[in-house]
Symmetry: C2
Subunit: 229 residues, 2 copies
DNA sequence: GCCCAATCGTGTCAAAACAACACAATAATT
DNA sequence: AATTATTGTGTTGTTTTGACACGATTGGGC
């Protein structure tokens, strides 16, 4: 059987790719050297193929720009206003990704005209991509407050002060160093590697790594946040 | 200009419609008297029209079954596995809605073969609709813990014990009556109507209504939940 | 070699939030 | 009038939070 509907539309995927350079949040954006909107900035995107699951398509598109696989990626929302793309009606399913900025294939990204730009000082993007970024940031803030998601943006070994700088970048507000440390350590998600950060210019901070076992277990344990309502 | 892609697909919308009868959570489901999967149970759905924004389409589909407008509705997620619909590739953008079960047009729903079924004891649904419901429940639990969203499922005037029964249904676990009441009242979101619930068979509970002004203000104030991370 | 400045790690303490629990008030039923 | 089910409010000890202080470590300048 077949549906008797002629309203088929293009389905695209756009990726909001977050990175952290130790100082601020960054976005991997495209300086378009192709139409439409050539010369302007946009998110990395592409069309869904006929034989491709949605998530597979999104991962393909991320891989085409970064060379990465096994990245933290989450569906954000679908944007489907009639005129969001002036060329032709296109429904865009957005994903956001958190990557370790030092692990991606920088040459590949550059060959696709990808650049890491500051989230706070990013240029205006095409179509409704600004709204997508806004929503992704909101979701990141939401999620990072309840789930141990921030680690995806850091290298394998990291210090608590580094983690704090990341959270301060995410929420754009300062935290008390002592309370932050206490709260993080109380989750028992970190394992002391015994090493210290050799890049430190003063007292060297202890390097931790994620306790993968606890991480997997606790990730969806958010319901503990509300025994009574 | 036009895109040179021939991979256009059908875009559908499916609605997960929650209701609360005072005892348990209900879903408004369709007993299909049309193909495909005639005779089986499914969510309410439909195809997106060419001239229709995504949200507009979802609201139209909800309206076709319930007669309601201005309903609490939120985009859930988009499902796009290649073979999720055996008839033809269809990408489904899911929405979930919270409605006051006593306000919808019951005759209209019945004429479309819509029935309110217990969430916990619902039948198996077609395609990937079970996964959609699972995800919607998870999202509802998530959201209701942080935002004052439960009121959407109750009548305009309601008692605190009613509200508690709702939350117990959502989280499928009992709460302490005294702590619950204290916590709800501390939000200052409820206004005492001065009336009492005349249906009570013993001591009659006080009827409250939402303080709309505070409700609008506080709805997105969740960031207060984490001054320090 | 010693002091200085910057950063890191841990500790204290009062206030607020939470969880467990007790008791009195109300209304229909007997 | 006693009984039973339910509602409203209060108490108390424990845990968590937020604000803040101090000592330890490291590299660089003198």
């Amino acid at each position: 059987m077949e549906y008797l509907v002629e309203n088929r539309v293009l389905v695209a995927t756009d990726c909001i790719i977050f990175g952290f350079d130790g100082e601020e949040l960054k976005l991997l954006l495209i300086k378009r050297n192709f139409e439409p909107e050539k010369g302007k900035w946009s998110l990395m995107g592409g069309f869904l193929r006929a034989d491709e699951d949605l998530e597979v398509g999104a991962k393909r598109i991320l891989h085409e720009l970064t060379g990465l696989e096994n990245v933290y990626m989450e569906q954000l929302q679908t944007f489907g206003e009639v005129n969001r793309d002036p060329a032709e009606r296109t429904v865009s399913v957005c994903f956001f990704a958190l990557i370790n900025i030092h692990e991606h294939d920088a040459e590949l990204a550059r060959s696709r005209n990808g650049y890491w730009l500051s989230l706070k000082e990013r240029p205006k993007l095409i179509f409704d991509h600004d709204r997508m970024v806004e929503l992704a940031l909101q979701r990141l803030r939401y999620k990072a407050a309840l789930h141990p998601i921030g680690f995806e943006l850091l290298p394998e070994k990291f210090t608590i002060p580094q983690l704090q700088r990341l959270y301060e970048a995410i929420y754009d507000s300062p935290f008390d160093r002592r309370n932050f440390s206490r709260k993080i350590l109380s989750t028992k998600l970190l394992k002391d590697t015994g090493e210290k950060n050799e890049h430190g210019v003063t007292k060297k901070a202890v390097l931790y790594r994620l306790d993968q076992e606890r991480y997997q277990k606790q990730f969806n344990a958010f319901l503990h946040f509300m025994s009574d309502f």
